[in-house]
């Protein structure tokens, strides 16, 4: 069977080895006036290099840039949009992490590329394809407070059209894989379908890059019929927290891929590679016609750096074991 390994979300920014660049320390020094913004930018680049090196050393097929400069999963990109201002900290779903809430205060418009330079930098550091991350347009809308449109479909469409331009900028920079992190798809009901389609249709239309629609913390069962015909390449299923995702496998359209989120990014307990390989075999047995990616169920940044690195190694080990066993 064919299975590619990859990550989801962002990666821990802190080093595991003393003496390695520590972007947290550099940022603190900048805040104390002892380092410059340039120093921080360099630390972010050096951190990206380390994140990619960890993935390459482990043997990850499709590496991610790790989002070393992101404060949270929404605002890095949302800050670049006209019509959006960034407000106070609130809890990110049921995690003990936070994000600054975007507020939609006018017509949302894309201004300029935010992530394209990050892609170019990461591409220059990697011998493998680099998958870039963008906020899922439906989730970015749901995480935002709409003070302007007063209509979830209009707000979703505006966000979707803006992120489509960011995706286009990534493609123009050479990106061949783009992953949209869209956890709210796993919490939506059929009533949300019009807004979801309004958000997703623009970002998925006319893509030259392959796209992963990743749904951590839930399963998009309730709205899957509304998104199954949209032209995504792969759907990411969180099979750790939402085992109901297994029931979606028979409904995946032919010719698509599934990112199997089988590695728990929210717990330090290390999985048994044999168990993970067995789950891969289960998927391959149920739908041998699909192609698969293996990934954590969510961002590995929920873990401390040492545990995240161990999970990256495990991820590759499990995929190789599954391949040896013939899926």
């Amino acid at each position: 069977m064919k299975i590619q390994t990859t990550l989801a979300g962002s990666y821990p920014k802190l080093p595991t080895e003393p003496g390695d660049v520590n972007v947290r320390v550099v940022r603190n020094r900048r805040d104390q006036g002892k380092a410059t913004d340039q120093d921080v930018a360099q630390a972010v680049r050096d951190t990206t290099r380390r994140m990619i090196a960890i993935q390459e050393k482990a043997g990850v097929d499709l590496v991610q840039d790790g989002c070393a400069g992101w404060d949270d999963a929404q605002t890095y990109v949302a800050r670049g949009l006209d019509g959006v201002r960034i407000a106070g900290l609130i809890r990110y779903l049921d995690t003990n992490t936070y994000y600054r809430q975007p507020e939609i205060v006018g017509d949302v418009k894309w201004k300029a590329p935010v992530t394209a330079e990050d892609f170019k930098a990461a591409k220059g550091m990697s011998s493998r394809p680099v998958k870039m991350l963008l906020p899922g347009p439906y989730s970015l809308t749901r995480f935002s407070k709409d003070l302007h449109y007063g209509d979830p479909v209009k707000a979703s469409r505006a966000i979707g059209e803006s992120l489509a331009k960011e995706a286009r900028a990534l493609e123009e920079a050479g990106a061949t894989w783009i992953q949209f992190e869209d956890p709210w798809l796993g919490r939506a009901t059929a009533a949300d379908a019009p807004a979801i389609r309004a958000a997703l249709a623009p970002v998925l239309a006319d893509r030259t890059a392959k796209t992963v629609l990743n749904v951590p913390f839930g399963t998009p069962t309730g709205i899957f019929d509304s998104i199954s015909d949209l032209p995504w390449t792969a759907i990411g299923l969180d099979l750790v927290e939402a085992p109901g995702g297994w029931d979606l496998l028979p409904r995946i359209p032919k010719g698509r891929s599934v990112a199997l989120g089988l590695i728990d990014a929210r717990n330090t307990r290390l999985e048994d590679a044999t168990d993970v390989a067995r789950s891969i075999a289960r998927a391959a047995s149920a739908r041998p016609d699909l192609e698969y990616l293996l990934s954590p169920n969510a961002s590995l940044e929920y873990l401390p750096a040492d545990k995240a690195e161990a999970k990256v190694v495990l991820l590759v080990e499990a995929a190789r074991l599954a391949a040896r066993n013939g899926g």
Binding site: P12, L14, T16, R27, N96, T97, P304
Partner: protein, 325 residues
């Protein structure tokens, strides 16, 4: 004359800069644990005096000796290890507990600090604990077969500490459960675990929860087996009051009137208006007026400026409405 509208705080206060520096120095091995401990005690004494001076009715020790609200307890309980730093937002990190074996309470966790704080004042000091559901939800789990198993072991351990606080004389025991509001599907587990943690307590029991999906968890929230539920009201522009009109709030309420996420100090009039809106729906004897949440993210000056406004606003409302303390 009716009584009510007692004033208090949710628990944490900001650490004074000299204490922050000392904690960092201690972490680097530059000052001893004894030196840090002495400074924590000195600053706690000052904090209690300031609470008395502005006229709060029910005081706290301020938790100046604690870091993270889960890690403090985990560091003192067998069965927990502490992780390397995990990011919470931006450049903020904390060390997260990991359950690596059966979790037990083998020694007092907060009782000595409570006794010390209470010895400094005649006003009551609340005993402050982190609840079992939140401890479970905000920890990694490498040991327990289920979330429930971990939560219930924690509940038993926290119950021992709560009983020890009561034995020491605590009249108010607050068992915070900020994680409850974000996983409505697990509210029954939170209720069960908090019930176990509060088992056998005669002291007034309180829990603080943070703003979450109230459309889903209210009024089931009232099943939490404590006397008082402390809620963020100001942060949500008091919109919960509309829910309370339709479905009455049947317990005592910790009624948050100060936005702790904002540097701006509220005006006395806006706090008064918030209290008066509450009195349209709630009885004064139900209401304990406090900030929305812990004050540790404010500066000390901001925290006390906000609290002074709150106390002054309560006094005016008491006078105007003939409510005794």
């Amino acid at each position: 004359m009716s009584r009510g509208l007692w004033t208090t705080t949710v628990g944490s206060f900001p650490k004074p800069p000299q204490l922050e520096r000392a904690r960092q120095q201690h972490a680097r091995g530059e000052i001893s644990a004894d030196a840090l401990f002495q400074l924590e005690r000195d600053e706690t004494v000052k904090l209690i005096k300031r609470q008395e001076e502005i006229g709060l009715d029910i005081l706290v020790d301020g938790e100046l000796y604690r870091g993270d609200m889960t890690t403090y307890f985990a560091e003192r309980m067998p069965g927990f290890a502490i992780s390397n730093p995990v990011r919470s937002y931006g450049n903020r990190y904390y060390r997260k507990p990991i359950a690596v074996g059966p979790i037990r309470r083998t020694k007092p966790l907060t009782v000595e600090w409570w006794k010390f704080a209470q010895s400094q004042t005649k006003q009551p000091i609340k005993g402050m604990l982190t609840g079992p559901y939140t401890m479970m939800d905000w920890s990694f789990n490498e040991h327990y077969p289920s979330r429930e198993a971990m939560a219930m072991d924690l509940a038993a351990a926290i119950n021992e500490e709560a009983l020890a606080l009561q034995e020491a004389g605590a009249k108010y025991i607050q068992i915070d459960e900020p994680a409850v509001s974000v996983r409505p599907d697990e509210l029954p587990l939170a209720v069960k675990a908090l019930g176990r943690a509060a088992q056998g307590l005669k002291a007034k029991t309180i829990t603080h929860i943070c703003y979450g999906d109230f459309d889903v968890i209210y009024p089931a929230l009232l099943d939490l087996p404590v006397d008082q539920i402390d809620l963020e009201m100001a942060n949500s522009r008091y919109d919960l009051l509309e829910r309370f009109k339709a479905q009455p709030f049947t317990k005592e309420i910790g009624y948050g009137v100060l936005d702790v996420h904002n540097h701006r100090v509220e005006t006395k009039d806006e706090v008064k208006q918030g209290i008066l809106r509450g009195l349209e729906v709630l009885k004064p004897e139900q209401m304990y007026v406090d900030p929305d949440c812990g004050l540790k993210t404010r500066t000390m000056d901001e925290a006390f400026a906000k609290l002074q406004v709150m106390v002054d606003a309560v006094r005016e409302v008491r006078t105007e409405r003939g409510i005794g303390a």
